[in-house]
């Protein structure tokens, strides 16, 4: 037990020291903005082309049962904690993004997708730093709309 306590102190010591000295830095970082990127992708079966600008996420889009993917647009904004942004997307829909909080590893983001008939999706997610997730489903022309949402900071 004695050796176990020593080992725990050896491991936690540097962390505690960093916490005491870097407290102000952590608070400042927590107030720094998060870059939210929203891509609008049209998934369709009318062709089998993958937009070259989607190369980074092509393998993930391949999970969807569509053969072709077109990038319709890219939007981005820097949002501070508690800030909210409305992204207008095709089909008279809108994506409301609110950054609730952030830390070194994750950003908590509230995402609401609103269509002509009301709210389609209302979710709060914790995105890994520089990570992203995908919302898919709203119909668009002969396919569906796929919305990759990134959190960069």
């Amino acid at each position: 037990m004695k050796w176990l306590m020593i080992a725990l102190l050896a491991v936690s010591g540097p962390v505690l020291a960093q916490g005491k000295s870097g407290g102000s830095d952590a608070k400042a970082a927590a107030r720094s903005p998060v870059e939210i990127k929203l891509w609008s992708v049209h998934a369709t079966n009318t062709h089998q082309n993958m937009d070259a600008r989607l190369k980074r996420i092509a393998k993930h889009l391949g999970n969807l049962k569509f053969s072709g993917f077109d990038l319709l647009g890219r939007q981005s904004v820097d949002l501070k904690v508690k800030a909210k942004k409305k992204f207008a997307i095709v089909g008279k829909r809108a994506v409301h993004v609110t950054v609730l909080s952030r830390d070194e590893k994750r950003a908590r983001v509230k995402v609401q997708i609103v269509g002509a008939k009301g709210t389609l999706l209302d979710t709060t997610v914790s995105i890994r730093r520089n990570g992203f997730f995908i919302v898919a489903g709203p119909k668009h022309r002969d396919g569906v709309l796929v919305l990759p949402i990134f959190a960069r900071y």
């Binding site: 999706l121 997610v125 914790s126 995105i127 919302v135 898919a136």
Partner: protein
């Protein structure tokens, strides 16, 4: 007995009759001598011709119709031939039935005598990796439930070649977790599907879903392909209309 009359022929008439029929004996020929039998032959031919011209009555159809309508008196035959009592005959005929075919009655009698065939599932089950007492239907239902969960909403969205674990949420369903809700599907080792669901956050997961609320008539599925893959939230209109 009824009354009837007889006509006795003379020896000469009898010999003449046999002569015209072609069966005359030497005595008949000697007896008749030079007697002219042409008239008798002519009469015979006329009678024969008259009989051939008359339509023979077709009795076969009438006989068969009559027989068919009456049916075989099986009970009577059994009673007469075996000398059984009426009660026994009635019992036998009751078992056979009067209007039904013997075939169905015979099958029923055989099943009743032999009993139902034993189930083959006990012999088949081990070959398909199941236990004999286990219901095949329950086994399949259990497997499906274990794989996809009770709220799974079938969707044609995903390519069938990919292993996946899907969680479906009906419209208005809200997922709220104290820490985070993680849905994670990993392909580990040789490709065996490993499905994990935990309420605690895992740092390697791209997204933890804390709350998830779909609009009216919306179905939601959350999917995760691999530890480094982005979480995918699918929304689909239940009525098939564009959301």
């Amino acid at each position: 007995m009824g009354e009837y009359s007889t006509l006795e022929l003379t020896p000469e008439q009898s010999a003449k009759t046999r002569l015209v029929d072609g069966i005359a004996t030497d005595g008949d020929i000697e007896l008749l001598g030079d007697v002219d039998v042409s008239a008798a032959v002519s009469l015979r031919d006329d009678l024969r011709w008259a009989l051939l011209q008359s339509d023979a009555p077709s009795i076969a159809a009438q006989v068969m119709a009559r027989v068919g309508a009456v049916g075989a008196d099986v009970g009577g035959v059994v009673r007469d031939e075996a000398g059984l009592e009426d009660a026994v005959v009635a019992s036998v005929m009751g078992r056979l039935g009067v209007d039904e075919g013997v075939g169905s009655q015979l099958r029923g009698a055989l099943v009743q005598e032999a009993g139902s065939a034993p189930s083959l599932w006990a012999e088949i089950a081990p070959s398909v990796g199941a236990e004999a007492p286990m219901s095949l239907g329950d086994m399949l239902r259990g497997a499906v439930t274990e794989e996809v969960g009770n709220d799974f909403v079938p969707s044609p969205w995903f390519a069938p070649q990919r292993n996946r674990w899907a969680m479906g949420a009906a419209a208005g369903a809200v997922f709220a977790a104290a820490a985070a809700l993680l849905l994670y599907v990993g392909l580990a080792g040789g490709g065996d599907q490993v499905a994990e669901a935990t309420m605690g956050p895992l740092l390697e997961a791209p997204v933890d879903i804390e709350e998830l609320d779909a609009g009216d008539n919306q179905a939601v599925q959350v999917l995760q392909f691999g530890s480094e893959a982005p979480t995918i939230i699918l929304i689909e209109d239940i009525d098939g209309e564009a959301p």
